[in-house]
């Protein structure tokens, strides 16, 4: 029951743009002692459910470029297939480290958010 509440909480935060995909994996790995790959697997299912319900809400209000989406997805699924196979082939410790790296990167990006925008704007203005 507690897990369910945590699930709702994490999904709500993700829906608000807070935390994203990492939070559930962190909960599973640190608190529930689930193995890294399995935690990622659970997270994928979680995300599919969360994204589907979120998307139903967004689809009415946002403008999604469907043609571009299809193009990116067509290429992306190839990447996903090989990424997943690689994950299964990796040593769990290595995977954990990579995941940790992604978490650090995500956190840093959020904290530096405003500054990144300013750097980007300056960069693109100079290139004209």
């Amino acid at each position: 029951m507690f897990d369910f509440v945590i699930g709702v909480l994490i999904a709500a935060l993700a829906g608000m743009g807070v935390g994203g995909g990492g939070l559930l994996v962190l909960y599973l790995v640190f608190i529930k002692n689930v193995a890294q790959l399995e935690a990622q697997g659970i997270n994928l299912v979680f995300f599919v459910f969360a994204a589907s319900s979120s998307l139903l809400y967004h689809i009415r209000k946002r403008e999604i470029r469907w043609k571009l989406a299809v193009m990116v997805i067509s290429v992306g699924v190839v990447g996903a297939y090989f990424g997943a196979k690689t994950a299964a082939a990796f040593d769990p410790q290595v995977l954990r480290r990579l995941f940790g790296g992604l978490m650090v990167l995500s956190g840093v990006i959020v904290l530096l958010g405003g500054k990144i925008k300013r750097i980007k704007n300056n960069f693109f203005q100079k290139r004209g």
């Binding site: 897990d3 369910f4 945590i6 699930g7 709702v8 994490i10 999904a11 935060l13 993700a14 829906g15 608000m16 743009g17 990492g22 689930v34 790959l37 399995e38 935690a39 990622q40 659970i42 997270n43 994928l44 299912v45 979680f46 995300f47 459910f49 589907s52 319900s53 979120s54 809400y57 967004h58 946002r62 999604i64 989406a69 193009m71 990116v72 997805i73 290429v75 992306g76 699924v77 190839v78 990447g79 996903a80 297939y81 990424g83 997943a84 994950a87 299964a88 480290r97 995941f99 940790g100 790296g101 992604l102 978490m103 990167l105 995500s106 956190g107 840093v108 990006i109 959020v110 904290l111």
Partner: protein, 119 residues
């Protein structure tokens, strides 16, 4: 729009999604902000959600074949995600999550550093 960034963005986002079970969105958002200057952030977000949903299904397929998906646990969290996702999407339009985002960003960095082995 040239096709190369699309291919790179797609492959990159897909690979990260498969490798780490998440994170494809970050790759996509960076790539899209570059490719689609001037589009509304929320539209880009919805686009990314749509694409990563599709990518996650493929990743999931491979994970399941490798026996890495505990379906009982997954469904429990998955069902929790439905009301959660709706609540979150609703709040996205109405709340300013800046402080919450920063708090969780710090959490991510600390947890991530631990996983990397820094401490």
């Amino acid at each position: 729009m040239s096709i190369t960034p699309i291919i790179i963005a797609g492959l990159g986002a897909g690979f990260v999604n498969g490798l780490l079970g998440t994170g494809g969105g970050i790759v996509l958002i960076f790539a899209l902000n570059y490719m689609l200057k001037g589009e509304k952030n929320k539209d880009i977000y919805a686009f990314t959600l749509c694409v990563t949903l599709a990518l996650s299904l493929v990743s999931l397929f491979v994970y399941a074949r490798k026996g890495a998906v505990d379906f009982t646990e997954s469904v429990r969290y998955g069902l929790a995600a439905i009301p959660g996702g709706i609540i979150g999407a609703y709040l996205l339009d109405r709340l300013n999550g800046k402080i919450v985002k920063k708090i969780f960003a710090v959490l991510l960095i600390v947890a991530g550093a631990n996983m990397v082995g820094i401490f």
